[in-house]
Amino acid sequence: MLLEASGLTKSFGGVTAIADLDFGVPEGLVYAVIGPNGAGKTTLFNIISGIYRPDEGRLNFSGQDLIGRATHQIARLGMSRTFQNLQIFFNMSVLENVMVGCHARARTGLAGALLRLPRMRREEEEIRKWAGEALDFCGLGGLKGRQASELPYGALKRLEIARALAARPRLLLMDEPAAGLNDTETLEMRGLIGRIRDRGITILLVEHNMGLVMQVSDRILVLDYGSRLAEGTPAEVRSNPQVVAAYLGGEVHYAVE
């Protein structure tokens, strides 16, 4: 297992967001987490990426204990993510946004930057190249020189992915990559997720578009009130009576958008 959680629990002032949750993400797969609004999906992402500290439980990423580590330390272990509500650096250009993604792959510090030493300049060239590759991979190569603030919403979604990929992660957390996209863009996103998986990058996916989830996922974890309702392949999950009950029992916001 690349990522393994056991007994994970997190509550906010008496409201339990994640309750005694166990799951494991095998390397190389697309692993989706689904569940109704408020089921704890984003809380789970925030725990995994180190923004929240769980009250209890263990979290292991490729043999390393994640609990108590700061976000930047977790990122440096080879984990990267995108956000449900975009977290773009709007004060920077498209290329620079992705160059920030290369931060942990480079080394030049304050002194090297101030004096612009030859080694620093060589590294800058490399960072530029890496960032350019990530942009091309996400189909944004033509927008390199633009300010991030000039991009339309769909392109910003892909910019976040390019920035995350520039870090060359082993695990990529994608928080609702298709939210707010039209049908064509959703189709493109599906292709992009597939290409990322083909690169051998493990993907942990939170997504509300069930059509997309069923098509791209290898395994699915269904959350309800912060605990595990079901887990398995898309076919298993779809035929699980509990899932069907939870989904068809009056809840309509799971219809394919």
Binding site: S49, H72, S80, Q87, M92, E96, A106, I127, G142
Partner: protein, 324 residues
């Protein structure tokens, strides 16, 4: 070198001014003063404009550098350059010690904390009379000398301050166009995302806070030797506010904007003297008008105008390539 075009232009301008207006006492003296404030503003802009962390107590570091030089040279007979170095060490150390707890705060709370720090330093300068000379300050500060050449005329001070400004600007430009600079701008854009890209945001904020403080300390040492006299009033709360105004007026996150802000805020009151009683009123009105019509600051506003002009003339710009 395209990257440093602006820097060469600034160097040429600073060198040309005394040649174009030879013997213009006013320009040289006020120019040197504007140069010192430009050094301060460029340093503060690293912290405020680029990294997005406000400081309402920046004059304190200016004062620490100035008093370190003043006390060590006039009271203890230190070599001025050694005193300048010691001043930087002290300023940097104090900045480092307060950076971690203070920079955990955000927005208004950070403003309050830095404001408090600035006021505390000012009060200490006034109250610890045996060390700082109290409200009367310290006089008879010996001049700096460079290779046995005393910097004791207004023209020489202009040259030293201009050279220092050029050095500080060069370092600032280098820094912002680097991995470290991008990390600072990123944490301004989104601190959460910056952390998740592997940036140690607390360490990045601390180092830029210390660097901005060191720049102010350097300006303070030069100021002490240039004036040959320091008193607490040169480093009070209003000076901190003036520095923030320079950065905002010129255009946040623009090194040249910070310089422009410093030049305008130094020269404008001098030019407005002819209005006598109405000087402050007109000064305030000009600042308000600039911020209303150019909310991005002067450099930011002009950049926007330039780009929209380009678009109107049909050159590639915003909106044209969205389909690509």
């Amino acid at each position: 070198m395209k990257r440093l075009r602006g820097w060469w232009l600034l160097a040429a301008l600073l060198a040309a001014l005394p040649l174009i207006f030879p013997g213009n006492y006013y320009l040289i003296v006020v120019g040197a003063s504007a140069g010192l404030f430009a050094i301060l503003a460029v340093g503060l802009n690293l912290l405020m404009g680029y990294a997005g962390q406000i400081s309402l107590g920046h004059a304190a570091f200016f004062g620490l550098g100035a008093y370190a030089s003043a006390i060590l040279t006039s009271r203890h007979g230190w070599n001025p350059w050694l005193a300048l170095g010691a001043g930087l060490v002290v300023t940097g150390l104090i900045a480092y010690l307060i950076a971690r707890p203070v920079l955990r705060l955000k927005g208004h709370y950070l403003a309050m904390a830095t404001l408090g720090f600035g006021i505390i330093v000012h009060i200490l300068l006034v109250q610890t009379g045996s060390l700082t000379g109290g409200p009367d300050g310290i006089g008879e500060i010996p001049p700096l000398s460079l290779f046995g050449w005393a910097i004791d005329t207004d023209g020489r001070w202009y040259a030293v301050i201009a050279a220092t400004l050029l050095l500080v600007v060069l370092l600032a430009l280098n820094l912002m166009d680097s991995r470290t600079g991008r990390a600072l701008r990123a944490l301004h854009g989104s601190e959460v995302a910056a952390g998740l890209m592997g940036i140690d945001t607390a360490a990045a904020k601390t180092s830029i806070f210390v660097l901005a403080a060191l720049t102010a300390g350097l300006a303070g040492s030069l100021f002490a030797h240039q004036q040959a006299f320091v008193s607490p009033d040169s480093f009070n709360f209003f000076v901190s506010i003036e520095l923030v105004t320079m950065v905002v007026l010129g255009g946040m996150a623009s090194t040249y904007g910070a310089i422009l802000g410093a030049v305008i805020l130094t020269f404008l009151p001098e030019l407005l003297v002819v209005f006598e009683d109405y000087e402050v009123l007109i000064f305030g009105a000009i600042l308000m008008l600039i911020m209303i019509f150019l909310p991005q600051g002067i450099v930011g506003g002009l950049k926007d105008l330039w780009q929209s002009g380009h678009r109107r003339r049909g050159r590639p710009g915003k909106g044209d390539q969205d389909a690509a």
